[in-house]
Symmetry: C2
Subunit: 419 residues, 2 copies
């Protein structure tokens, strides 16, 4: 039987040791881990084959089976990612905001690990390695709960991680995985506030909702993007077509892809047919409000009348909602109502419009003349991405290594001088 | 009947306006508020008198009655604090971490208000004004829930705040107060995640526990300090007596006051009698572990044998737990087990001991040769203090104005240049 309390307690203890590892020690450990993942690929792929077999028996879709699947090449790419994490700068130990107070106290902040992370995710066994590597790099212990579809793969990978930890003299409890498929364990993990400092859910709406409602631990919600671009009356229209096309078509299955385009009524009749011409090439299907329906009435692109709920839809596919708005104010108010505050942008040639939009739209990432697809740790130069936060506290937008740390204040008095 | 959903929705709308106010606009509003509080002191004091009368009828203690009580002088001091908040630098709008990415995107972070704050507190009507002023300064709307003992005072104060808001053309929903004593409203507020971005509880353990368990909104817990000082074998003993005395005696009723002193066994026999001599002058009562009991057996200071639970006690009074430890490791492990991660320190003359302690103890504030009493927004030079956070995400330790803000990423593409 899985004893979450015992796991939490041992993770907490391991976190004390992790917090004191030097950057070279952590990097050496990560490089060994990358090597061992490659060396042990037969064992990992064998475990993964069992998950795949089970998945097929359970009638999982081809797409899902592909997400579960590990191959020699994929494992190699994962190992390379671990080596890349080893090369990133270690944020832990950085000191900042140093000052000497009037009362004589020398005060500074030091960046330290958060402690113990609880990460809950679905499918994709690569996440297990990914999250373990980022946790170890930042001196955090972690308790991982992967999807039940990858139990075998996760168990095999965790075993390798733990043997590498031991080999480097580190408490194996630093990375633990809940492989028992009992769903009650998720609810228990969410209430393990005595030992777990931060919950990161990586999955769909249902998982995030569960975490928000059940957790007694701070939750980093995110990864769900109902993203908007507003084409202002002064926008360069051919440039706007390219940006909208990029935002919708480049990788429609991810959270930073575009869901709704809002078009200023002054340019809608000119812009929408151009946009439809371009999107039709990629077989995009439109959901049109009444005004855009009239404009595109004779266009050959696949389309339907938009239902009210279509504007609250994260499409994750080649579907795009379209709405004509009277002005920037209506665009902003639509976004305030329907956006998940992930990524929203304006396409305009007018500085005042750009400024008003940027001031009024309070999403994690707000763009001017750029695609929502930019919202990404790698694009933003963070080196790695743990998650994309759409909540407002602690971290917003793409989370890199620093966002897995916190700080403590260190105050030094002058007793020695006075004594 | 109080309709929390309506309050939340209107607070959210007001927050849009607040986010766009300039610093001079907000400061002018705060200065008017200070003036109006003084001008309207008869109305406020009359409302407060009703609370006091009710409190006496309900048999509240003298100490609690004193906390509820407003006087002309106290109101004047509160108004001065509001003027002081007006003079602080506005963190909103600050831009940082600007960079131009390889892909050409110009990226920066901008500091913005969190949105809507939910603040739940007990007694003390000054908190209503305090929190409203800090919220307005940082462009946040707030929904306040004060203690039932100050309903009349809070209602009177809120009315004045709202009339000042209107006078400055600001939506009065920017500051709202739940004056209905129905306790179910607290539970509802904690689940108002559609509109409220952050919950700040200011009160005892029970309130914090309720918030952690019930809230679907991020909660800033804190304000509860089981604080430790460890007197190392190399400590300057007479200096240590002074620091321990300061940490325990200066203001025992607050969260940063000392609760437990840990003493290295090599100096316990010499140090403890000196400490007891000093603390006896202030009528401190000790809770002694067996080893310190032996050492102080013949001392006249008031003391009792410590019970196990005494080491998990935030005393908030002139009581101090005492424990002799074998070495720094035992001190660290005691602190890890019993501290609330508020403020803990070491008194030592050895740099290596100081470093080991600072590295190993992960509290919001860690001290070397200084009193735990330093953990305070004013002492730390933050200008104002909203709360002292003992959790690890978003903010740790004293929270100033910046900690009531978040950031958004702003990305600007080059369509204009290309077009």
């Amino acid at each position: 039987m899985t004893d979450l309390n015992a796991m939490g307690l041992s993770a907490r203890h391991a976190s004390y040791q992790l917090a004191e590892l030097t950057a070279p020690q952590k990097n050496a450990l990560l490089n060994t881990l990358a090597d061992e993942l490659e060396k042990n690929s037969p064992a990992i792929l064998a475990a993964n084959a069992k998950d795949i077999e089970q998945g097929k028996a359970n009638g999982l879709t081809e797409a899902l089976i592909d997400r579960l699947l590990l191959t020699e090449e994929r494992l190699s790419a994962i190992a390379s990612d671990v080596r890349m994490v080893a090369r990133l700068e270690d944020p832990v130990g950085e000191e900042f905001d140093a000052k000497i107070l009037e009362n004589g106290l020398r005060l500074r902040k030091r960046r330290v690990p958060v402690g113990v992370l609880g990460v809950i995710y679905e499918a994709r066994p690569n996440v297990t390695i990914d999250v373990a590597a980022l946790s170890l790099k930042t001196g955090n212990a972690c308790i991982l709960r992967g999807g039940k579809e990858t139990t075998q793969s996760n168990a095999a990978v965790t075993q390798i991680i733990q043997s590498v930890l031991k080999q480097h003299g580190v408490d194996a409890a630093a990375v633990q995985s809940i492989n028992d498929p009992d769903r009650a364990l998720v609810a228990q993990l969410l209430k393990l506030d005595a030992y777990v400092d931060m919950i990161i859910p990586r999955g769909g709406k249902g998982l995030h909702k569960l975490c928000i409602e059940q957790a007694t631990i701070p939750v980093i919600t995110g990864g769900i993007g109902i993203c908007h671009l507003f084409v202002d009356e002064s926008a360069d229209l051919s440039g706007s077509v390219k940006i909208v096309e990029n935002a919708k078509v480049q990788r429609p299955s991810v959270c930073n892809s575009l869901d709704t385009v809002l078009v200023h009524e002054a340019v809608a009749a000119e812009f929408l047919p151009q946009l439809a011409d371009e999107l039709a090439k990629s077989a995009v299907s439109l959901r049109l409000d009444p005004a855009s329906q009239v404009i595109l009435a004779n266009h050959s692109i696949d389309s339907q009348a938009a239902q009210a709920e279509d504007f609250d839809q994260e499409w994750l596919s080649l579907v795009l909602s379209v709405k004509v708005v009277a002005d920037l104010d209506e665009a902003v108010s639509h976004i305030r109502q329907h956006s998940t505050q992930h990524s929203d942008g304006i396409l305009t040639s007018t500085l005042s419009a750009a400024n008003r939009f940027v001031n009024s739209v309070n999403s994690a990432a707000v763009y001017v003349n750029a695609s929502t697809r930019f919202t990404d740790g790698a694009q933003f130069g963070l080196g790695a991405e743990v998650a994309v936060s759409t909540q407002k506290l602690h971290a917003r937008g793409p989370m890199g290594l620093s966002e897995l740390t916190t700080y403590k204040w260190i105050g030094e008095g002058d007793m020695l001088a006075r004594s």
